[in-house]
Amino acid sequence: MTLDQILSARPSPGQPRTYAFPNFERTVLTSGLQVITVDLPNRPLVSANLLIRRGVSDEPADLAGATILTARAMTEGTRRYPGVELLEAGERLGATLHVDASWDAFTASVEVAATRLGAALELLAELVEQPTFPESDVARLRDERLNDLLQVKADPRRRVDQAFNATIYTTDSPYGRSAGGDEDSVPRLTTDVLRGIHRSVLDPRHAAIVIGGDLTGLNVPRLVEAALGSFGGENPKHEPATVAPRAESAVDHPIVRFYHRPGSVQTELRIGHVGLSRLTPDFHPVQVMAAILGGLFNSRLQMNLREEKGYTYGIGAGFDMRRGAGPFSVRTAVQTAATVPSISESLLELRRIRETPVTAVELAAARDYLVGVFPLRFETPGAVVGALGGIFVLDLPDDELARYRDEVEAVTVEAIQKAAQDHIHLDRLAIVAVGDADAVGAELAAAGFGDLEIIADEVLAGGGAAEVAEAADEVTE
């Protein structure tokens, strides 16, 4: 056979190996703390994640940033371990301890060799239960946040996200705010405020610890009981705070907000509106629809704006889902001269996914990807533990992950169109951009996408430190 003959015959897939999402077990300690364990044989690194259903969206507006600042400040010293001594004790175990907060939850986590799990849990407990919130360190962390806000203003990508969220939500929704707080709220975040947040977090009835890895020979509930048995014991209990936050739309007709950044060689674009809660009953059709629109590498947006027009390095669209209705957005950066055509083409794709049924080929591509990639997503303990944590935080059914592939398999063309029509709203789109208004302002005004507001440049400038190491890395496709 010639090489051409060999390559002309496309291979067909073999027999798939059966895969099931790993089984997990749940134990409830006397305090109410749930212990969720998942045994993953031959995975010597164990991932442990303590989650409390108390997140950024639970904090009052005037104290925006308090939850994340509390999380940051908890690694600044505890009763037994002043300063960074606790983190150093973790390092001696080869473990990095993290405390963080999302919109829905407060989390403390560690990844450690199975043999050192007990010792690592003791440190995790100390970190969560006994932080001292030193005045000078909290002041420093406040300053760091304020400095970071300067960097946000100067970085078009961070700036456009902040502006987009502030645009689409009413001011009484936490989702319109910056999770880390703003120039007004951060100075109010005193150690007393942080202690108050910390007390509210110490509630075992809203807490679970998820532990996954090779747990052979370990009695995990007993290790957790030893370390975290008195978690929240001395604190008053409050009622379950699992009410979705307000997430109303501040936009009732199409608008364009363009932040002028002179000389920008690209326009950072976000187009969208208030989207959906993770608890939406049509979660799976929405996922498939979003994959076709802007999730797959060959999504409609990507094929149009990248592979045909070359306007951008990449474009995506999707729903950022939380307990309440997170944003739906189209996200891209396009060369300045292509700003108006890029908006036009994006709007065209949003209209098309609503008006025209997807083809059977498109449905198959999205469905087969989401179903097929499922085992790849859960190769490591960290990924399995993360997914189970999400189930706990949002009170999703225990079989949510086990059912996932069947649910996606069952999605139809009709369900996709209904999801698009129900959840993509062209009549209240916000188009928010950061770019050079001198270069595109007139064309934008003439295009008539919606009420246009051009916001003058406030600052010249900067980027987040996290991006630095990344920028040094290789150039990817």
């Binding site: 897939p13 078009p156 040094a472 150039v475």
Partner: protein
């Protein structure tokens, strides 16, 4: 902790393709990773950015695969894929459910064998536009965005292949022609210039048979031109300083040093030093500049291993508002001087070793990372078994090794200092010219 052992086979097809297979049935997934021994260091003047532009063209179809179909087939198979280009090499990879391995191998073979059958001006022009937008979004429109390119310019002399950035220049990207693409393909995309690693839930005999079937008939190129001599003196020679005006609110210093090549034990020692200097809140630079003196917003220090004459060791510190940038530079440099002058403590070394051990184990849990490293060590060091020895090398680094390597590398006459200043402030900037003793 459990010592990690990656068992693999290492062989060559008759046409020179190096095949590495490693079996691991823990998860029903398999990673395919192919490294071509060509990177931006192979580019000549007037053709910068070409290796990376070419990498994009590799996704535009081949003899039996249509434009964008590579992505479509891999994703429909439940897989993930990408390609990357760097100074020393270009790689392409897919991770797929194990029953889709043959598809991934066929896709890679088809473009290695028949890329030029699908090449056309329209696709080249489209990807040229995409890559120019990649350059804008990753570098040109980003605050502090060109810092690494500037370090390259100072760490490597103008006639050295590491002097220019992998992304290239807009002018050179504009000038790239179809004939350039064809020539590049014929020269470098040959089986004897590639390493193929397959790791995961695989039957090695079956995998070998498929590789033989799809790649075995692809002709070798026996006349791949050798790279010129990339040897460099170990030190830059004199300190290089540059003040860069940018639209940034906070000044930031970037530090760069010429360092020993990948595979040199001194680079391992510098990797451990980087952990002690800037890895986490207990590290020296973080503790002093961020926590104690509160003069920096953030710090980092790291090593980028290369094989063409020298590597780069680099660091950065963002200056807090109201602080003299010279004070931050001085403090940063004093910490580097200290690690050259005195051995690190036993506790610092023990913490760094324990963390590195966890990081390595964490990374190697994944089949795609193992495939990438096997192909990397085979391509760059001709030594895939380094995957099993690298951890031991890190754990064997002593305080004396760190001090010796630091003293050789972190010297003022081997240093680049870039200082980004908010536009309009650079003229009045107070960065002083005093160099470390």
């Amino acid at each position: 902790m459990t010592a990690l052992s990656v068992r693999f086979t290492d062989e060559r097809l008759a046409n020179g393709l190096r095949l590495i297979v490693s079996e691991d049935h823990l998860a029903p997934v398999v990673a395919v990773c192919i490294w071509y021994n060509v990177g931006s260091k192979h580019e000549v003047e007037g053709k910068t950015g070409f290796a990376h532009l070419f990498e994009h063209v590799m996704f535009q179809g081949s003899g039996h695969v249509a434009k964008a179909e590579h992505m479509a087939l891999v994703q429909a198979a439940g897989g993930t894929m990408n390609g990357t280009t760097w100074l020393d090499r270009t790689n392409y990879f897919e991770t797929v459910p194990s029953h889709q391995l043959e598809l991934a191998l066929w896709l890679e073979a088809d473009r290695m064998a028949t890329l030029l059958d699908a090449l056309n001006q329209e696709n080249l022009d489209n990807q040229r536009a995409v890559v120019k937008n990649e350059k804008r979004s990753s570098y040109d429109n980003r605050p502090y965005g060109d810092w690494f390119h500037k370090l390259q310019e100072h760490v490597f002399p103008p006639d050295h292949p590491y002097h220019h950035p992998t992304i290239g220049s807009m002018e050179d990207l504009d000038a790239a022609s179809l004939e350039d693409v064809a020539e590049f393909f014929r020269t470098y995309y040959a089986p004897n210039n590639a390493v193929l690693a397959i790791v995961g839930d695989v039957d090695p005999a079956q995998a070998r048979a498929w590789v033989e079937r799809y790649f075995g008939e692809i002709p070798a190129n026996r006349t791949i031109p050798a790279l010129g001599d990339m040897t460099l003196p170990p030190l830059i020679g004199t300190e290089a300083r540059e003040i860069v005006e940018d639209r940034v609110p906070l000044p930031r210093h970037f530090f760069g040093f010429r360092a020993p090549m990948m595979g040199d034990p001194r680079l391992d020692a510098l990797d451990v030093a980087a952990q002690i200097l800037a890895g986490g809140k207990g590290s020296r630079l973080y503790r002093r500049l961020v926590r104690d003196e509160k003069i920096a917003q953030d710090v980092s220090f790291f090593v980028l291993g290369l094989i063409g004459g020298a590597s780069i060791a680099a660091g950065q510190a963002t200056v807090r508002p109201g602080v003299d940038p010279a004070v931050v530079e001085r403090a940063f440099e004093e910490e580097l001087e200290l690690i050259c002058r005195e051995p690190v403590t036993a506790d610092e070394l023990a913490r760094a070793r324990a963390l590195i051990e966890t990081f390595e184990l964490e990374a190697l849990q994944r089949v795609d990372e193992r495939a990438d490293r096997l192909a990397m060590y085979a391509t760059l060091l001709d030594d895939p078994d380094m995957i099993n020895r690298q951890m031991g090398r890190y754990l064997g680094v002593t305080a004396a090794d760190i001090q010796a390597a630091a003293a050789e590398v972190l010297r003022p006459e081997n240093r680049v200092v870039l200082t980004y200043m908010p536009a309009g402030e650079a003229a009045t900037g107070t960065t002083d010219e005093e160099t470390a003793a």
